[in-house]
Symmetry: C2
Subunit: 430 residues, 2 copies
Amino acid sequence: MIKIGLCGLGTVGKSFVEHIDESYNLIKNKIGTDFEITAIADRSIRKKKYKDGIKITEDAMSLVNIKDIDVIVELIGNVDLSYELLKQSIKNQKHVITANKALIAKHGGELFSLASKHNTFIGFEASVAGAIPIIHAISANFTNEKITSIAGIINGTSNFILHKMSSSNCDLQFALTEAQKLGYAEADPSFDINGTDAAHKISILAALAFGIKPPLEQTDIEGIESITNMDISYTKELGYIIKHVGVTEISGEVVNVSVHPVLVANNNIFSQVPNEMNAIVVKGDRFGQTMLYGHGAGGNATASAVISDLVSAINFINYSKSSYTQMVETVGKKSYDIGSIENTESQYYLRISADDVPGVMAEITNKLAEKEISIEAVTQHEPTDANSPIPIVIITNNVRHMLIKKVIKDIEQMENIKDKVYSIRILDND
Amino acid sequence: MIKIGLCGLGTVGKSFVEHIDESYNLIKNKIGTDFEITAIADRSIRKKKYKDGIKITEDAMSLVNIKDIDVIVELIGNVDLSYELLKQSIKNQKHVITANKALIAKHGGELFSLASKHNTFIGFEASVAGAIPIIHAISANFTNEKITSIAGIINGTSNFILHKMSSSNCDLQFALTEAQKLGYAEADPSFDINGTDAAHKISILAALAFGIKPPLEQTDIEGIESITNMDISYTKELGYIIKHVGVTEISGEVVNVSVHPVLVANNNIFSQVPNEMNAIVVKGDRFGQTMLYGHGAGGNATASAVISDLVSAINFINYSKSSYTQMVETVGKKSYDIGSIENTESQYYLRISADDVPGVMAEITNKLAEKEISIEAVTQHEPTDANSPIPIVIITNNVRHMLIKKVIKDIEQMENIKDKVYSIRILDND
């Protein structure tokens, strides 16, 4: 039985506890070991809810001395306290997991060495880009060859603000207030706005990519505070969108690390990272460029990354197979019905070739109406030459595959329809 | 010393050998174990180049019986031969790695069980989406909670063709010929065009995500063969782009699996996956949606994924730490100079507020010319009111940070310049 001590029961801490409850069986079967949250430390624990049977305390440091705790999960945030907590935990042979990017950016080098010396696991997947498994992905594939650069949109708050300024034509202050209302920015957003948070994250990625201590002190930091509506609109006219990025690259024996705003061309995939989303591009000698994209913040996304570290920590403790081998071994253990495409639903694009005679459009739309298929758009196009049929394009609302096939058959049997109707599904945008 | 038997010395096989040569020290230091390619099997090995001291044979099956080979790397492609090769290898306690998607989609369930029974490693990262570490990422993070769906652009050839049809307004046959010229399509491209290749890949992902046998037989398959120029242009008018995707999702006890063309809205990140690139979106209960994007094919990208499996296999053999722990332990072992931002180069956007007097634009452009900074675009905008300065926007060509700062200082000292000049770097598009 692996025993977990949780420090910090804020947004991420609560989501961590919920996630453990929800996925307990799934994870237990995967790792083949039982585990539980044994103790929770939180400054205001007495005002919060927790399960019966869990030890509680207001003093995080006290968990360090509880002998049977195997793993300390640090979700406090405060750098000084977390630093002491992790250092003591590792010295006491406890495995540690943290979501604290400032901590890793400032003390990562020392903590990694200490963990290596005491043969304990240290997990910090949640410290960079939330649920995006960038830390594991770098280790899985990229560190087998030379990484040349990493560039990322790694601060959700500033990305939300820039996206909002661009889409709503509002100023930075208005966008920031909106971000605060929606929970994408804290009461004091200065670390997000002035680039400090992004600097923490790119320093961690630079350390992993190049095997150096996190170069936070030497990171050139520029935030988004000086960007105006004017810049948003002028750059838009020129075919660009403004993003805020962290960048690190190696050239010869020199590593550069910086965070700053940047203009991204409209046809670059970085331009399509909306709202509070994060995206990180890693470039390598042989694999070319790979990008990871997803939710960079929020309680659930961050807790999800913490859980992935927990699974790694338990595998480390048990000298057991990796998550990868465990996953492969589950294949075939389950059986679900494989559904028929007939019952799936989506919007459809239909292209119909019709003779140019009065009433043909009405006849087609009637066929759709008979099956209660509603139409989002209809457009009639010019024929390729005078004797050719006219192409009619229809975008339907959601409809089952089975039903669209029936109506296509009906339309194909019409007197004025010459060719097969061609249909393509539309990707659900959510 | 871990001994590797390589079967297949085609494009990927050659790149694998080169990559091993190039990254030998890097990988050896990472895993703490020596390794070598001991034997190579290839039908036409006698016509090919290989290092001295390596056993060669035309008969792949013969490697299965060489006692001291620990890992078989299968890069042949033929399903029947590969199936026999992997089955016998596993039975002989050899660890196996394959890039063969058809093999895993057809026999994955059986091979995984067999590997589990004989406690051997089976790696197939390269079988789906080349260098994108999707297989490892799924195991690292996503299988700790409920995956709800996976959707991916997973066939580089068809994506190249659709992108080409859209960007060059050509027909499918022309785009295919172009793809063949550039090496993105094989002489017989039917598996790419008719959706079979994508079906192999989505079946593998469905198996991992839902713990079922690869549901290839039940996958609904539709290719791109019926898409015409007309569809490309009509959907463009409607704000969409046509992509070909593999999709799998779970709803209750039913799993759906299909591959088909789909219309993607222009503001969706999937619309920005150009040429032969791949992208896969995984959705989960808690982590939300995560996308991985990168090179889905090609010798180097595929070999890179094979190498990541090789590292995992060697860690598995040694019961040693995971790639993740190995990576963390390297942090701080190296030290590079951290470069000054002053020496980095990029294009710049400058916004200058100038009095509306004759000659001011000439004076500004002269300041740039003096420093030999060339200009890509200059635009002058309307002032916010009659008494305000006029905003002038300049896009420069590549220039060093140090130099742009000097010229900004020069411009700010001009008589007719009132405010600070605001500058933003432009993301390098390659």
